[in-house]
Amino acid sequence: MAEKVLMKGNEALAEAAIRAGCRFFFGYPITPQNELLEYMARHLPEVGGTFLQSESEIGAINMVFGAACAGVRVMTSSSGPGISLKQEGVSYIAGSELPAVIVNIMRTGPGLGGIAPTQSDYFQATKGGGHGDYRLMVLAPASVQEMVDLTALAFEKADEYRNPVLILGDGVLGQMMEPVVLPEPSPEKTVEKPWATTGKGDNEKAKLITSLYIKPEEAECFCDHLRAKYSAMEERETRFECYRTDDAEIIAVAYGTAARLCMAAVDMVREKGIRVGLIRPITLFPFPSAPLREAAEGGAWFLTVELSTGQMVEDVRLAVGGRQPVDFYGRSGGMVPDPRVIAARLEELAEKKANAETAQPNEGGAA
């Protein structure tokens, strides 16, 4: 039966994974995601699962690779510097078309950075990260409940597309406690995996999992196949939330923790009668370009807010395509902005827009 409990983000995600049928976890400690690892160590054996603390992040991701080849539901988690080490393996998992779930509870970088929350791994998450022409599906929760819900979705979509799915959270989401409704356990939900290397049996043809294509014609054919898969994801899997955007003249664009701050800021500004709203990408790949483009065509201006020096803003600008101005506000290094500061930036932008429209009354907001 579904139950409502108070849980820390990292632990809620781990429990959701177990309930989604994840029975194998390989990981290496790094702050601020250790509770996830520790939860798995305690609770996976209780359901007959396997937890293994590897010798390194590289070891962990390759154990994930092996278990995924065997057809089981498997997960690993880490934070930025550890995810960097895993990228080689992630590229192989994508190149071998294997389902796996990878969690990044972001901390600051570059380098060792710090353990405070940021969103500075957006590029790494959405633009490949490892070598080669591949994409991960990237899910960005903004609450502990969503960490639970998107984890179930991650396993489902990883199996459906035979592609790794990354859950991109941050130190705030990992560490905070919120009430969550946990889903019913669904360990039997796993799909058929006739491609898995489980031994060929007595009469079957041997199965091979490889990402090696020596002949350029074959390699291109494979890359085209992947491109078609990513296009299908773009068509079917784009997820986002619109908050008070119906009549909005200024639209904040933010994901995860930054989106929650923006939501509070939007409410503050709305109280003053200024028409502002928020578009919150839930999938960072596929990126919700269409609603941004439509809002731009409707005349809205944009403020991208990130806990970074500006990464997702590049995708927002691509989506908006120069139709309207896209402003950026970000804090980095683990500094979390006050919603009042974001509210002030939204107001400022609204005023700028009004002035621009007064100056050129016949041209509206068109660039």
Binding site: N62, M63, A68, G199, A206, I209
Partner: protein
């Protein structure tokens, strides 16, 4: 009427290999295939292929196969074996793969005593990338990246992998063999079969180092390469059973 005394193992595919003349990978593949056949393991065996010359082992041995990234095969094997504990999982790795980039994975897989089998082919050089130094390159041996010969002061001393793994508590079976003469091939076969048997019986991590020749990158004829292996490699990499668990014949 004649009796058939020798034939291709069932799980060795009837195809020509891509290896250079005098390379020993073909022989070692055959020994692995014979061991798998004799123990009747093929239906439940999963091989993990390396990066390097023998990456295409999956075209030659007819069992399920996974192609791992450079050096990571023991971690991949760990993942497979943990998920499928009743299957037979083995890696096949060269010295660049296992003793350089993959040292962390091999040491920790051995330290955990994972119940997998590792076939480690040591030819003291990088083959596929064109003859660069390996961690196993002998002192004085010339390579494209040690043109004046490996120097201990500049390049360090070659790693004796069996000796290193033998310091660990958990490995069950560690053996070093060679395939440069028919007699040694017979001995190597026995070690490889024992390694798989060790896994089959759940005794834990089994490891066979096979000394082998790379005539192309050593710049020798196949015959000279065999001589060089015997005269230069054997003194530093002695043929030896380092560890055999009780009950493994």
């Amino acid at each position: 009427m004649g009796t058939k005394v020798f034939s291709r193992p069932d799980c060795l595919r009837d195809v020509a290999t891509h290896y250079c003349p005098g390379c020993h990978h073909g022989i070692i593949h055959r020994l692995v295939a014979e061991a798998i056949d004799e123990l009747e393991l093929a239906p439940r065996t999963i091989g993990v292929a390396p990066v390097g010359c023998s990456v295409f082992i999956y075209d030659y041995i007819d069992t399920d196969f996974i192609q791992a990234s450079h050096g990571r095969a023991p971690a991949v094997a760990t993942g497979v074996k943990r998920a499928l504990p009743d299957r037979i999982v083995f890696t096949y790795q060269g010295d660049g793969d296992l003793a350089a980039i993959g040292t962390s994975e091999i040491i920790h897989t051995a330290a955990r005593g994972e119940n997998v089998t590792v076939i480690f082919v040591n030819n003291a050089i990088y083959g596929m990338t064109g003859g660069q130094s390996a961690p196993t390159t002998l002192l004085g041996q010339s390579t494209t990246t040690a043109p004046k010969g490996r120097d201990a002061g500049a390049d360090g001393a070659p790693i004796q992998v069996c000796e290193m793994l033998n310091t660990l508590q958990r490995p069950a079976f560690i053996s070093r063999v060679s395939v440069h003469t028919p007699a040694q091939v017979v001995r190597a076969k026995k070690a490889i079969r024992r390694a798989f048997q060790c896994q089959q019986e759940g005794k834990g991590f089994s490891f066979v180092e096979v000394l082998s020749a790379c005539p192309t990158n050593w710049g020798m004829t196949p015959l000279d390469a065999n001589k060089w292996l015997e005269q230069q490699m054997l003194p530093y990499y002695p043929i030896k059973d380092f560890r055999i668990p009780e009950g493994v014949q």
